[in-house]
Amino acid sequence: MTTAVKESAPSAKSRRLQMNVLGPLIALLLLLILGSLLNGNFLTYGNMANIVARASFIGIIAIGATFVITSGGLDLSVGSMAAFIAGMMIIIINSAVPSLGTGWTVVALGIIAGLAIGALAGAANGLLVTAGRIEPFIVTLGSLGIFRALITFLANGGTLNLNFQAADTYSPLYSGNVFGIPAPIIVFAVVAIIAEVVMRRTTFGRHLSAIGSNEQVARYSAIKVDRVRLMTYVLQGFLVGMAAVLYVPKFGSANSSTAVLWELQAIAAVIIGGTMLRGGFGRIWGTVVGVIILELIGNILNLQSFISPYLNQAFQGAIIIVAVLLQRSRRTTN
């Protein structure tokens, strides 16, 4: 019997795996084909670079979201948190310019501040969830409102603009290239690779899915559930900070409309990528694919001319559903 087992199992298993792994990739491929049919410039390096560079903001945030969601949590506050952090960075940099000048020191200060504030904001969310024992949905819905209000308040309803010279020093971090690869793409890639390793090869990653799959079992298995949970939110906050660090040099500004609804895009990307919203299973590379899929949809809609722009959102919605439908067989098995 055991032998029979050994032969058969892989095939069955691999069948399940295939759809699950291929799902997002197929969706990606189909979109690439569609795009190239629609427009000759679609597959150009320039366009691809544009897409991935844009994806980097939500991408980095979505990577954080993958950790949070895998452990069974949720963070709706990432969008307004990003706006808030960007605003704080601008205020800090501007106010430091007189003393520190407009060189790299002041920018570095801003960056460090951004990452730190992000981690702190994340910790606040995390503590309310773990120590406060409140549904993550509620905690982060609440902090969503709080961060959004704070940026509006800081910007006095208007827009915070980065000191122009400081902006010049800073801007390469967004618009610069290394060997022709845009800076944000490089940052995105590095974050993604590290995250993938953390998720698959570290105790932290393993504990995440354990907690997400059955918190009690995790507790009985000597895992410090609350601490791990907290960590995921801190990590999420830190990565939101990193996204803000890339965002500020883009326009050198932040206002109350900055990063609105990024949370939904981030979560959508995570799920399109094959991570389970209920927790217990997550994968970073899937999220990366998911984010790029979302950007591709927007890009393709802009490159074609037959669909009324009124209907853009409808096509985005439809394609998101289809992209996940491609993984259906997997969901069925679980």
Binding site: N39, N41, F42, T44, G46, N47, N50, R54, T152, A155, N156, G157, G158, T159, L160, N161, S175, K250, F251, S253, N255, S256, S257, T258, V260, G298, N299, N302, L303, S305, P309, Y310, N312
Partner: protein
């Protein structure tokens, strides 16, 4: 002068640059006038959508006993009924910028000129592209004021050689302006001019042009009169030759006039149209409000 009056001010939440400006100028006016007129007090409320704005009006009537209302309706059609209720309650009503779907409800209408913004812009495009050219249009959000502006613009350039290659919604937002412009640049090898309709969107457009290294191939026009853009115009930028005023401080004007009505019962009723004028290198100075966040 012993009687005191309460004036309610209801404006949309700062959900993009321009409304942000509205909130700022409204706040400023309220602070200034509260000091100026001891017998006037103000109730300021910002609303993200018409349900909340309608609620704000109900609350002002039911709990704050307002004598007058200054409102910039986020969605005039939806707000008409609620504003009519205020009027029927015997309150003074000043409507700002956007026309209600029923005429004659308000006492004072400080009207923004949305079609005017379109027309003025169209006139400039005609003069700047006498023998036509390819342009792309970045719209705002799909709501009536955007439609008014775009329709007027299209009408303005109707029988010219100017060809609108493409249109997309940029939601008066920098990120979307940036993305859409990037894609337009991918899509069209030859673009002569860009109409971004809004200065926030324009900022995104310029960034995209700069990164693509095509900033010298085309010029772009926004709208509203954000001081960052005004400065560019004033400095005679070739890339942003002009701007079209649609200044959020019209709300301040409206509050001022309403205050005058109560404080000095001055004759202020009727309609005051704030024209959307072309801002050029020469007249830029008078549109520059340096120390505002807008």
């Amino acid at each position: 002068q012993d009687k005191t009056y309460v004036i309610g001010v209801s404006v949309p939440t700062a959900d993009h640059g321009w409304t942000g400006g509205v909130d700022f100028f409204a706040q400023q006016a309220v602070d200034r006038l509260t000091k100026a007129y001891p017998n006037l007090s103000f109730v300021l409320a910002t609303a993200p959508d018409s349900t909340k704005q309608a609620a704000d009006l109900e609350d002002m009537i039911a709990t704050r006993n307002i004598d007058g209302l200054v409102i910039l309706p986020g969605d005039p059609d939806a707000m008409t009924a609620s504003i009519k209720k205020v009027k029927d309650a015997g309150k003074w009503v000043t409507v700002v910028d956007r026309a209600l779907s029923q005429p004659g409800i308000e006492d004072l209408y400080v009207a923004g000129d949305n079609p005017g913004l379109g027309t003025t812009t169209a006139d400039y495009f005609k003069s700047a592209l006498p023998n036509g050219g390819n342009i792309v249009v970045l719209r705002g959000a799909p709501i009536p004021i955007d439609a008014q502006r775009v329709d007027a613009f299209m009408a303005g350039i109707k029988d010219t050689q100017i060809k609108v290659l493409d249109t997309q919604f940029a939601n008066w937002n920098r990120d979307d302006g940036y993305k859409i412009m990037q894609d337009f640049l991918t899509k069209y090898p030859k673009i002569d001019a860009v109409w971004a309709q809004d200065d926030d969107t324009l900022v995104g457009v310029l960034k995209a042009l700069k990164e693509a290294g095509r900033e010298n191939e085309m010029w772009a026009v926004g709208g509203a009169g954000m001081n960052q853009i005004i400065k560019m115009v004033a400095s005679g930028s070739a890339q942003v030759p002009v701007d079209v005023s649609y200044n959020p401080n019209m709300v301040a004007t409206a509050i001022d006039l309403t205050a005058l009505h109560f404080a000095a019962n001055a004759q202020v009723d009727g309609k005051l149209i704030i024209n959307s004028t072309l801002i050029t290198k020469d007249n830029a100075a008078q549109f520059d409000y340096p120390n505002t966040p807008f």
